[in-house]
Symmetry: C2
Subunit: 217 residues, 2 copies
DNA sequence: TCGTGCCTTTACCAATTGGTAAAAAACATG
DNA sequence: CATGTTTTTTACCAATTGGTAAAGGCACGA
């Protein structure tokens, strides 16, 4: 009886393979996040990676394979902050901590943010299945968690799904629309600090339940 | 003395020209908003418009000209709600009304939203000047207005620039990331109503100044 | 009926696209 | 160093890209 799938597929890559795959994926992240899937070209990726085009196709099965690999690899770490929201923690603290980490990630990894933004704006043609399975599960789970928090009066009444959407929207906006933010708010360091304070206030006011006592030292 | 620019350029287009230009721009809006500038092709636009490729180039000077025309034409109406925020009105009402109209526009014109989203994510290479001039002026003006409102205690203390960013982020999210929203929150009509209520609450809680008396009938 | 001006099609083009075949070079290992 | 393996390059493709030239159609007034 053949179980169909080959043994767990230990990558088992030589160090030169690891190095070049990393170079390619990094170059591809630059190009895909800037131009979207269809607007990106293998030549561009090759040039940016410092390799020849056929050499790139020696490491990956094609343009689409690179893109899919990127999406799969980055999805996990992109969702880590949400995943780590702790059912045992203090609800408001957990949510505010999540928001803060999400905003920090948008500032630290704008390319990743734009990669996903491009893919989803364009209808998520290479991510649809992933969304429906992995992401949806996590999303539903965390929605349920937030709902119980609300139910126990630990948070102000709020629609968990739309709450998550607005957290994503506000935090990722700074990465995805960086070009616009920079034009409209040129002093970068000030803008970043202001963003943090604003987002913190926005969601704290939304989520703080009525009659919540503020601990002042 | 030649003033350099030709007379005000009355378009003076025949009805067949109007019809075909409209068809082309509509098709181009579909294609550009779905694939971004570089990912879009003239053939695709031509097919969608029901015209031949050379025929399209009879009406427009090239791919870029179509894209620029679209951006210019749509920019004005896209910014109309912000423009109409009235310095004479009641601050909180004006802002909440703006937010509501912005959300409605995202639902009614998702293609336009995605057109701009694509352009800005990709660094706004064909819109940079417009951003720096027209949009920045409007943005600064409205920021100043909001600042005076805050100063007079009509709104809770808030950074006007970041406030506008978060309004844009939250409202446009529903258009730009529609593919994701639909997967995670499948019941469309409920989702839309929920979005309205959530966004309303989010910003009303942020903006309502301390000690604001709620008028109950 | 004949122009005349507007619109559309046909037939192209050079450049770029994603991708391949196969030789050549570099590398590892005995 | 000899040998087999991994990596890289060279030389190509067929298809698609944005764009052009020029001939054809078509409506409409004289």
């Amino acid at each position: 009886m053949d179980d169909g799938k080959p043994p767990p597929e230990t990558p088992k890559r030589s160090r030169i393979q690891k190095r070049n795959r990393k170079r390619i994926l990094d170059a591809a992240l630059n190009v895909f996040s800037q131009h979207g899937y269809r607007g990106a070209t293998l030549d561009q990726i090759a040039t940016e990676a410092g390799l020849s085009k056929p050499n790139i196709l020696y490491y990956f099965d094609g343009k689409e394979a690179i893109h899919v690999d990127l999406l799969n690899t980055l999805m996990a770490e992109w969702l880590a902050p949400l995943q780590e929201m702790d059912p045992e923690g203090e609800p408001l603290d957990e949510l505010m901590r999540y928001i803060s980490r999400k905003l920090a990630m948008s500032h630290a990894y704008p390319r990743e943010s734009r990669l996903f933004a491009n893919e989803i704006i364009q209808g998520a043609p290479r991510m649809g299945p992933h969304l429906a399975s992995g992401l949806k599960t996590l999303f539903d789970e965390k929605c349920a968690l937030i709902a119980t928090w609300v139910h126990h009066g630990k948070l102000a009444p709020v629609d968990p799904g739309h709450l998550i959407f607005s957290i994503w929207a506000v935090t990722q906006h700074y990465a995805d629309f960086e070009a616009q933010v920079e034009v409209l708010m040129p002093r970068k360091t000030e803008a970043r600090a202001g963003a943090e304070a604003h987002v913190e206030t926005l969601f704290r006011k939304l989520l703080t339940p009525p009659g919540y006592s503020v601990r002042t030292a």
